[in-house]
């Protein structure tokens, strides 16, 4: 019995993100009903599902862009949201440094160079300028954007812009990275370069939650796949199981569309 409790405490500590019973509605319309999930350190969790299923809302809730109505959100076992009540503002600001978010539409700052887009936030957080610059240059190289540090976002392709956005999020050295349909705004020939970068991060054991419509990618990269529909998690498991042997009828129905 005691051993069980210790184990429970251990697993909980390994969960960078835990969500329990998360609720969210917009004007009486329930978009998240009792969502629970755990993301372990070093894991990649993909969230798939039809549009309007609440995938993006879930990401927006855990990154505090949307205010949840009920449930718990924990980072490293610490409550950011407990029973629908948020931690004080100053604490939420500290939680914010634990995660990064990559948007569908990049949302780079158009008036900043690539380098400034990546380095300003850490500098504003009081980090050493030279150190941040070096880290940013390293990230630019890692993203395959050498020589682009002084370019402005409008001079880059969508795929390049999204890679800058990923570098910008990584510059904050987050423990977990959220991707909200990172390739949905890209031309098909540009999705590959972005997915490659995410795959590389997965190999480096970066903890990530990826909302995506790229099924082969989700299958290849994830440790776990979550299928959402109608504001609930219909099914989750390892990618092999969910994609090859879905248990739920709703999952089968959704995946069938992609087989054609």
């Amino acid at each position: 019995m005691q051993e069980n409790t210790v184990n429970a405490a251990l697993t909980q500590e390994q969960n960078i993100l835990s969500v329990r019973g998360l609720q969210k509605s917009f004007d009486g319309l329930c978009v998240l009903k009792d969502i629970s999930l755990d993301v372990e350190k070093g894991n990649v969790v993909s969230i798939i599902g039809p549009s309007g299923s609440g995938k993006s809302t879930l990401l927006r809730c855990v990154s505090f862009l949307e205010q949840a109505d009920g449930g718990d959100i924990l980072y490293d076992g610490q409550y950011a949201l407990r029973g629908g009540i948020y931690a004080p503002k100053a604490e939420l600001a500290r939680f914010r440094t634990r995660f990064g978010l990559v948007f569908q539409n990049f949302q780079l700052f158009p008036h900043y160079s690539v380098l400034k887009n990546i380095s300003e936030a850490p500098i504003l957080h009081g980090e050493d300028k030279e150190e941040v610059r070096e880290r940013a240059m390293g990230l630019i190289a890692k993203m395959g954007l050498e020589g682009k540090e002084n370019a402005y976002p409008y001079q880059l392709s969508g795929g390049q812009q999204q890679r800058v956005a990923i570098a910008r999020a990584l510059a904050m050295r987050p423990e977990i990275l959220f991707f909200d349909e990172p390739t949905s705004a890209l031309d098909p020939e540009l999705t590959g370069e972005v997915l490659k970068v995410i795959r590389q991060l997965a190999e480096e054991k970066m903890t990530m939650v990826v909302v995506t419509h790229e099924m082969p990618f989700a299958k290849a990269v994830s440790n776990r796949v979550i299928f959402m529909a109608g504001g609930v998690i219909v099914e989750q498991g390892d990618p092999q199981a969910v994609f090859e042997n879905p248990r739920e009828e709703r999952t089968k129905q959704f995946l069938r569309v992609f087989e054609r």
Partner: protein
């Protein structure tokens, strides 16, 4: 009266014309931002008051507002009319232009995608940092053409100060025109305003060019 004396006499009023112009910009540009932010306030009361304030200032003639600010205190409280008319003139102009600038700012601020705020929020920018570093620079670039329009109008509107007999260039010109029964002073005034606005166009064009480095 020779054309040269006419020009020289009217030039004496140019300093005052410039005083109205620059002081109005100095006060109305920041005041407009305050009004715009209050107009967008989440408080219904504050935003309604600001909306009313803006409709009054945009919906009534500037000339009327000049008269009200200059002579209103006398009729309402029997206060003496200010000896230096520059003060009421600048107050009236600054408030009037602030209302116009406020609506331009508001349009600019509302045109920035919500995602820009969200990106900054997730990166830990404070509300103030987000506004000053991310939003405002983009707003300035977007609204510059509309602001140039207002500034050009302001150059010409300074002539309105003649209604309260403030001795700026146009008021002097009008007096000369009356005493000499000549149309020439108005031609001179027209040329003055045209040249003034040529400079305004040049300066604003330079500023727009400097913000051309991104899209």
């Amino acid at each position: 009266m020779s054309l040269l004396t006419m020009i020289l006499k009217m030039s004496e009023g140019l300093g005052k014309t410039c005083a109205i112009f620059f002081l109005t910009l100095l006060f109305s540009l920041p005041l407009g931002m305050v009004v715009a932010l209050l107009r967008m306030s989440r408080s219904k009361i504050i935003s309604s008051i600001m909306r009313f304030f803006i409709t009054v200032l945009r919906g009534t003639p500037l000339m009327l507002q000049l008269l009200a600010v200059t002579y209103g205190p006398y009729y309402l409280f029997g206060a003496t009319v200010a000896r230096n008319k520059l003060i009421p003139v600048v107050i009236a102009f600054a408030i009037n232009y602030a209302a116009y600038f406020a609506e331009i700012y508001r349009g600019g601020i509302e045109s920035i995608p919500v995602g820009q705020y969200e990106a900054a929020e997730v990166l830990g920018y404070s509300k103030f940092q987000t506004f000053m570093r991310i939003i405002l620079p983009q707003v300035i670039k977007r609204i510059l053409p509309s602001v140039t329009n207002e500034v050009v109008t302001l150059v010409k509107d300074t002539s309105m100060a003649f209604t309260v007999s403030y001795q700026e260039m146009f008021t002097i010109g009008k007096q000369i025109a009356n005493s000499q029964t000549s149309f020439m002073p108005f031609v001179v005034a027209g040329v003055f305003y045209y040249l003034f606005n040529a400079i305004v166009d040049y300066v604003m064009g330079r500023i727009e060019k400097r913000l051309d480095y991104y899209r």
